[in-house]
Symmetry: C2
Subunit: 355 residues, 2 copies
């Protein structure tokens, strides 16, 4: 019995041949291997919707990679190791499913993620791609959670702020990006992004613009740091000192995600503005964009930086580039310290319902 051309079963046959023997695809339900002794499974889900989370005409290869990256960022913030993905892809007629799937499986393989299942559907107006990622938390590591912070803990941030939001504004002003063909799993690199900038952009801003768009479209999940922090939280790193570590990835803006961490931890927070790692690209581009760099950094979102807490005396894991941006407080308020002055920090950012 052969599958009809252009249909679902033919696409799946192509994908399974591409993935090779031992693929978990073929049934509606995938049987996961037994977790290693003492390890636990974790799960997260996130979507990318055309015209909401990325430009409506974005290259399917970039959508696929971004979908994976934002989900990996959630696992990074939990301190878990990525393992399996289940992909639901709803797309209009004529969508280049093969381009999406080839990019997805290549990027997934580079992160140790196996596609274990999926669902295909038609969506008349726009592509909606949803990925569920399953990961493993090995024995000896503790899940990082939003609610593990305590008053007095130091607040740390890994990754720059604001560049992604600047990249989003550049795309809204006509910048375009595509993924360079012919780059396989070996050549994984976000330098494979081909970017066209708006003609009106001053040449001196081109480098900052490239960096911003790259950060927006190809975020870098902080998996190694999350892993190291989950060892700290598990008490298995002697020189750092074990103890509770709260963490959240900055997807909706530092202020809003900090508010979430504080709400779950039952704390407030103080952030020192001069310690914030505002991305150089955001600072350079802000005037041309008519934006405020600090506003992009605090509320712009989609940085996929990792915000975390450590006991006051503890140092962040060796080799990680982290900024010590403030501390958790007993009070419920979020405070921004600007040259010693205390200003309220509004918990505003990207709301997925209000937009």
């Amino acid at each position: 019995v052969s599958a009809p051309p252009g249909g679902e079963d033919q696409l799946l046959a192509w994908l399974r041949e591409r993935l090779g023997p031992g693929s978990l695809l073929g049934d509606d339900t995938a049987l996961l291997p037994a977790a290693p002794a003492g390890a636990r499974w974790v799960a997260t889900v996130d979507s990318q919707i055309a015209g909401i989370h990325h430009p409506a005409d974005l290259d399917p290869a970039l959508v696929a990679r971004r979908l994976l990256a934002v989900n990996l960022s959630d696992l990074a913030a939990a301190g878990a190791d990525p393992a399996y993905g289940l992909l639901a892809l709803a797309a209009p007629a004529g969508y280049d499913h093969r381009r999406f799937l080839a990019a997805f499986t290549a990027a997934a393989a580079a992160h140790g993620v196996t596609l274990a299942g999926g669902d295909l559907a038609r969506s008349p107006e726009r592509t909606v791609a949803t990925l569920t990622l399953l990961g493993l938390l090995p024995a000896g590591r503790t899940l990082l959670a939003r609610g593990a912070g305590r008053p007095g803990d130091a607040l740390w941030l890994a990754g720059g702020l604001g560049a992604s939001a600047a990249g989003r504004l550049l795309l809204a002003r006509g910048a375009r990006a595509a993924w360079a063909d012919g780059v396989g799993a070996e050549g994984e690199s976000d330098s494979s992004l081909v970017i066209d900038l708006p003609p009106s952009l001053p040449p001196g801003l081109a480098d900052a613009a490239h960096r911003s768009i790259r950060r927006h479209l190809a975020p870098l999940p902080q998996l190694a740091l999350g892993r190291a922090l989950s060892e700290v939280a598990g008490g298995s790193v002697e020189d750092v000192g074990g103890g509770p570590v709260a963490a959240i990835d900055v997807s909706d803006g530092l202020a809003l995600d900090l508010a979430r961490l504080c709400r779950e931890s039952g704390t407030g927070a103080e952030v020192e503005v001069e310690r914030l790692p505002v991305a150089g690209a955001a600072a350079e581009l802000a005037p041309w964009l008519g934006a405020d760099a600090l506003d992009l950094a605090l509320h712009g979102g989609e940085d996929y930086a990792l915000l975390f807490t450590l006991p006051p005396a503890a140092a962040p894991p060796a080799g990680s580039a982290c900024a010590h941006i403030g501390r958790l407080t007993a009070g419920p308020d979020l405070v921004l310290l600007v040259l010693g002055e205390r200003r309220p920090l509004a918990p505003e950012g990207w709301d997925h319902l209000l937009g």
Copy 2:
């Protein structure tokens, strides 16, 4: 720090209060409990898109229940026990998220499913709801798979055919349905569907119409049968005789899903038309709908019946209402036996890309 009214965080706070203490919600990543000794996790994903899988204006409470049911049907066809769900819900402004979530969590609780995570987003034109279900396959049970069939195996079907497709046609002709409010987890029953029929429908067809629409909107996943078959496949049921059991749930039409089972098993199949459990409601309604009842039964889809194979001498699990509809053959062809005459059975049904 309080969450802004009408936004994502406020909705999640409402949901977590509803679910009570111990909820896995609150972080982007959920830590699943360790599987019992010898048990394995399984995973499946399926979507419901407004206007594609159900009428665009369908009651959110019914969308939620149907989303759960179609995913449960996949676990039933694998022989696994449902455990956790991750829900991605993309909906237009003004969507009644609380109605959706209240119905979802009530129906999930009735099936032992805990909501472990989710993602909310705006989708300008239509609702796209995607559920990933995680289940457990306990020790001693074997996953049912499409590819486990062998030539000579008997082909069985649990559940009627064609009624769901008739229900879909009735909805396209103006029938309407809603979920009755005020029915909690205790009162779970698909009789809580309130149905308005097209005025032009002859009164004598009203009962068949109610049954068809109910079957379409509130499918009944065959979880108990799938569980019993996974015990047969695991060799742990002495009186039935253990052995490989192939299974698939009939979501895209008997002919197409049989073709998939045969392709994975490397077999053909013969189906005896007079043994097919064509739903009485489909037979009654077909003339008024201008449809052919056999066509609805073979190709209509969304029956969520369970198609499975057993070794030739084995009987289906006691207490299950199954029809013995044919057998797997060595040849690659699908054959329909009509009064002894052999006709080709086209592997046609619902294709999720071609529509």
